[in-house]
Symmetry: C2
Subunit: 274 residues, 2 copies
């Protein structure tokens, strides 16, 4: 029985779901290198991008005040418009064009496109988040994603979803990467890679060489108990373990400038069940 | 031999390539009705949209002067950014979300997405059009379009192309509709429908009931000779006949508010070889 399961696991294709954040998007040169590295990854892959400072800058120029609560943007209709323009338009299409120039057959999508990600407007007892959306994973449209992946299209996903009733919604890019990874883990061996400006989860937040190379649920508990995990990393790590619990094979956290090493398992923090 | 050709023509699927312009995009209510009508069209279809006044308004707010020469926008890098945000982001994603709410499985694309439309930066002896692109029809990527259409995805196309070297380009939406129609006419019986605010090609530009119902190359020459065609329509009609010459089955020009009648052949001007 074990052998059969192993062989099933082995015969499934690997899928890399890779998230890039704002820091690299704001740096044209680093973004170019990152996209060249991304294009070079063999096999199935998906890129999820955040927004960087461009949306803030545009909102500022247009005189639309931005409000953040607990790291979440309050998305009124004017802010949603800015996000749709910057994330869904400018950043997404430029990444796609650059990937195409690297012979990577990218296709830019939001959750509305091909109905790929349905979400529900966030309802909170005391905070009005506006047009913020939480992905409904029970309605994950696996067929849409398989159509892209099995036809060698590389989805480039912006952090926008929809409610199926005509309303676009702003959804956190980390969450989108996680939801896609979960949804596709029934069909692929998913490696979820979160890239940021540090080399991984650090024992000493001021020392980029103090990367914790491997982590499982037990060692994470130990490190948390000893308060050796930087508080800002805890939500990310909790999400990583939640992803593993829903079938994601591995979560890797590391530096966007070392993408190929992250994919090869030679850099970053690797989080897995075993 | 004729029978065989007819049977081939009959067995091919009809494809409706429909272009909407700025007037309807700027009118939320009319756009909503148009999209409900579009969603109701049975069979294969593609929507190509222009931009309306939203791009001008955003450019104005951002202090980016807009320059038009012979109806073409001069696209410097700042203007390209505005266009990519407004056409590729805001308008495109909102149309897609609205179509999804009408059970129409739309997917928003630019020419960069899935490498669907390659273009060449326009070189002109005396005018610098900036980042304006002319579609290279010899490089039409029919596989990308067939993948969408044969999997019942409805492409919603914004007027942006790319050069394959990482550069996005601004391309006229009428031209995009025509190039897609030409490129797909080898596989489908293409009906190219240009919608605008008038009921069709008019004998008297001030009388919306003076629609010329049918037109072929011969009758068009006659009307032109007698100067009975409004000068502004001539480039559109020349394009329509050029499309027919490359295999497009029919070109229909009419009012966006009568889309279903245009599709049914009960409204607008129908231009065909016979």
């Amino acid at each position: 029985m074990k052998n059969v399961m192993n062989s099933d696991e082995n015969s499934r294709k690997a899928l890399y779901v890779i998230k890039i954040g704002g820091n690299i998007i704001d740096d044209e040169l680093k973004l170019g290198t990152f996209l060249t590295d991304f294009a070079a990854i063999r096999g199935k892959k998906i890129l999820v991008h955040g927004g960087g400072k461009l949306a803030d800058r545009l909102a500022d120029k247009l005189g639309i005040p931005q409000q953040m609560i607990e790291g979440r943007r309050i998305t009124n209709s004017e802010t949603l418009k800015v996000i749709t323009m910057v994330y869904g338009g400018y950043i997404n299409k430029n990444i796609v064009a650059q990937l195409q120039s690297n012979s990577c057959n990218a296709i830019g999508i939001s959750g509305a496109d091909a109905n790929s990600l349905l979400a529900r407007k966030r309802i909170h007892s005391s905070i009005d988040y506006g047009f913020a959306g939480d992905v409904e994973n029970s309605r994950f449209n696996i067929k849409a994603w398989q159509l892209f992946l099995e036809n060698d299209l590389i989805p480039v996903v912006c952090p926008i979803t929809h409610d199926g009733k005509g309303q676009l919604l702003n959804t956190n890019a980390d969450t989108i990467a996680q939801e896609i990874s979960k949804g596709l883990s029934t069909s692929y061996t998913v490696h979820l890679i979160y890239t940021f400006e540090k080399s991984g989860v650090l024992l000493n937040v001021n020392d980029d060489t103090s990367v914790i190379k491997k982590m499982n649920a037990e060692s994470y508990r130990g490190l948390k108990d000893k308060q050796q995990i930087f508080a800002g990393m805890i939500p990310k790590l909790d999400n990583a373990f939640a992803a593993l619990a829903t079938g994601v094979h591995k979560v890797i956290i590391g530096n966007a400038e070392k993408l190929n090493a992250l994919v090869a398992g030679n850099s970053g923090t690797c989080i897995e069940n075993e």
